[in-house]
């Protein structure tokens, strides 16, 4: 890590990566930019529309509502999944057969195709034939996620916690297992409390992996599309229409390419900006400690 040699020929090593990613990133992005500035009345005739679509999108209530729902969703799941994942990782066994068993079982939801995740929860939460729906109704709650916006949100967040908390657990566990035993022994000799061990030994050692966890969870939850679209389809009404779902409705449902493209770019910029803010904030914290 320490010293790196100046070598311009290293560009040849990164060339294949740059070529492949650029092919997939720049050409489609240019297409989107192109659409975002044009208007059409059909028949493949386009004319320049400037930043009109951007103004429309930025001023539309529909976009504000979807963005608000998106932010609410992302921050809710971050506030649940990150602490929950850390708590579970702290309680995991350190050695032995059970570690492998735990890790394999916990990683399972991460490898289920996203539409299957949606389908599993769709079936599981059905009020009439689903276990969760039956159970909640049996306990006296009136629960129906296809009709009640509150229930739909509850199911959506529960599904995401089910799907992704394991990623936080695995990352936090990796951070914890890198702490050498003498650290704990020293703490024991000093008579440190459980909280002190966590605060001054475990948390600092987990900082780097938790940064990765927060960033990955933030980016992925902000881009979430398949699971909610299978679970609720954005409904009831527009109650769970997150940004991606709204975008696909506009682009492929109504085929309004201009507004959809403008929205895509704004959306992408928001993800970039917020990721960058998270990243710098957490890196600054790391330097301070």
């Amino acid at each position: 890590m320490a010293r790196k040699v100046q070598n311009q020929k290293a560009w040849f090593f990164v060339l294949p990566v740059v070529a492949l990613v650029a092919f997939n990133a720049i050409i489609p992005l240019m297409t989107v930019v192109n659409y975002s500035m044009q208007e059409t009345f059909g028949g493949n005739v386009f004319f320049f529309h400037g930043v009109g679509w951007f103004q429309d999108v930025l001023q539309s209530d529909r976009f504000h509502a979807a963005l608000g729902r998106q932010l609410a969703f992302t921050f809710t799941i971050l506030f649940i999944e990150i602490p929950l994942g850390v708590v579970i990782a702290l309680a995991m066994p350190r050695k032995g057969l059970w570690v492998s068993v735990c890790l394999v079982l916990m990683a399972l939801p991460l490898l289920i195709p996203w539409n299957v995740v949606g389908a599993i929860w769709n079936i599981f939460a059905l009020p009439d034939i689903g276990l969760l729906g039956r159970l909640l109704n049996g306990l006296g709650f009136t629960y129906n996620y296809t009709r009640e916006p509150g229930d739909a949100w509850f199911t959506l967040i529960l599904m995401d916690v089910w799907h992704w908390t394991s990623l936080v657990v695995l990352l936090a566990y990796a951070g914890l297992s890198a702490i050498p035993d003498p650290f704990y022994q020293a703490a024991k000799i000093d008579g440190a409390s459980r909280w002190a061990v966590f605060r001054y030994i475990q948390l600092p050692k987990m900082k780097r992996v938790l940064t990765i966890a927060v960033l990955l969870r933030f980016m992925d939850s902000f881009m979430i599309y398949t699971e909610p679209s299978v679970l609720t389809g954005g409904g009831p009404g527009n109650a769970t229409t997150l940004l991606s779902i709204d975008l696909v409705k506009i682009a492929l449902g109504q085929f309004d390419l201009g507004p959809a493209a403008a929205m895509s770019i704004i959306y992408f910029l928001i993800v970039l900006l917020l990721s960058w803010v998270f990243y710098t904030l957490m890196m600054r914290n790391e330097e301070q400690s």
Binding site: K4, V5, Q6, N7, Q8, A10, F13, V14, P16, V17, L20, V21, F23, N24, A25, L29, T31, V32, V87, M92, P93, W98, S100, L103, V104, L105, M106, L108, L111, I112, P113, W114, N115, A119, I120, W121, I123, F124, D128, L131, L158, W162, T165, L170, L171, Y173, A174, G175, A178, R194, K205, I212, M223, S244, L247, V248, S264, I265, F268, V271
Partner: protein, 287 residues
């Protein structure tokens, strides 16, 4: 029943208790969590062994008329099983491409400084942040224009968008953990660069390569939006077969549940093989 609604309460109560006694009950937390993870999967399996009549006829906790008919249908009907073959084909191609181009790039990032290196690294990572919904339509047009629409290679290439940056990121972390002296010693010993890279360096980061491949497999396997957009018939992924069948043939829940249950198997097999690397690998080698 320990369902999700009560899990946080248990956790909170338990944390409290442990701080005072440090008793050996902490296994309850992972156990409760794993239980919570398994219940919906159990419900899926339960449903896949039922007949359609039993599913729609009422609420049963286990299949009363146990049947393998759904699985038989999937494993004998080419519309279904070709979906699995398609998915596994493009996921494998994607994993091979992503890891093999990421290897030299990650080496360059971990060992050399060159013009624009930091910007390039950040630019690569930004592609991991691009919402697939943004790119769905342009991808369709791009791959149609170059005549790759509805091929495995199209999906494999499209998934490179987010898998290559991730593979570079992971491998760079692992490579930075290998001391530079190893490279220098190899040169002094007269190794050519390709020989050094393949014979000495790659075995040293074998676990990193395994982890990168695992992540590429995972994200390509679970992604549906792009895979569905870029295929029609010949390369249709299993996940798309499921959604289309669901609307075409009414609501055959048993069949859907069985198809869903079968999509868990490849992931489970892959996890089993990398289980010892998972802990280190999820930290991307940067603990």
């Amino acid at each position: 029943m320990t369902d999700v609604t009560s899990t946080p309460a248990i956790l909170a109560a338990h944390e409290h208790e442990r701080s005072s006694s440090r008793a050996g009950l902490s296994w309850l937390i992972p156990a409760a969590y794993i239980f919570f993870l398994m219940v919906p999967i159990y419900w899926l399996l339960n449903m896949s062994f039922k007949t359609t009549n039993e599913i729609l006829g009422g609420f049963t906790l286990y299949p009363h008329n146990f049947t393998l008919a759904s699985y038989r249908e999937i494993l004998t009907n080419p519309v279904w099983y070709s979906g699995y073959i398609n998915s596994i084909t493009y996921v494998t191609i994607n994993t091979v491409i992503s890891v093999s181009v990421a290897l030299p790039a990650a080496y360059a990032f971990s060992r050399y400084r060159f013009v624009g290196d930091k910007h390039l690294f950040f630019w690569l990572l930004t592609n991991r942040m691009a919402p697939p919904a943004v790119f769905a339509l342009p991808f369709f047009q791009l791959y149609s224009a170059i005549g790759l629409f509805d091929t495995h290679i199209a999906v494999a290439l499209a998934h490179c968008l987010f898998n290559i940056p991730l593979a570079v990121w992971i491998l760079e972390g692992f490579m930075s953990g290998v001391p530079k002296e190893i490279d220098e010693t190899a040169y002094i010993d007269g190794y050519s660069f390709p020989r050094f890279f393949v014979k000495i360096f790659m075995p040293l980061i074998a676990s990193g390569i395994g982890v990168a491949a695992f992540f590429c497999f995972m994200f390509s396997w679970v992604e549906l939006l792009l895979a569905k957009t870029l295929t029609a018939v010949a390369a249709k992924p299993i996940a798309a077969v499921m959604t289309r069948t669901a609307s075409a043939s009414g609501y055959e829940l048993g069949l859907l549940a069985a198809a869903g249950a079968l999509t868990i198997i490849p992931g489970a097999v892959v996890i089993y093989f990398v289980r010892n690397y998972i802990a280190k690998g999820f930290a991307l080698g940067r603990v």
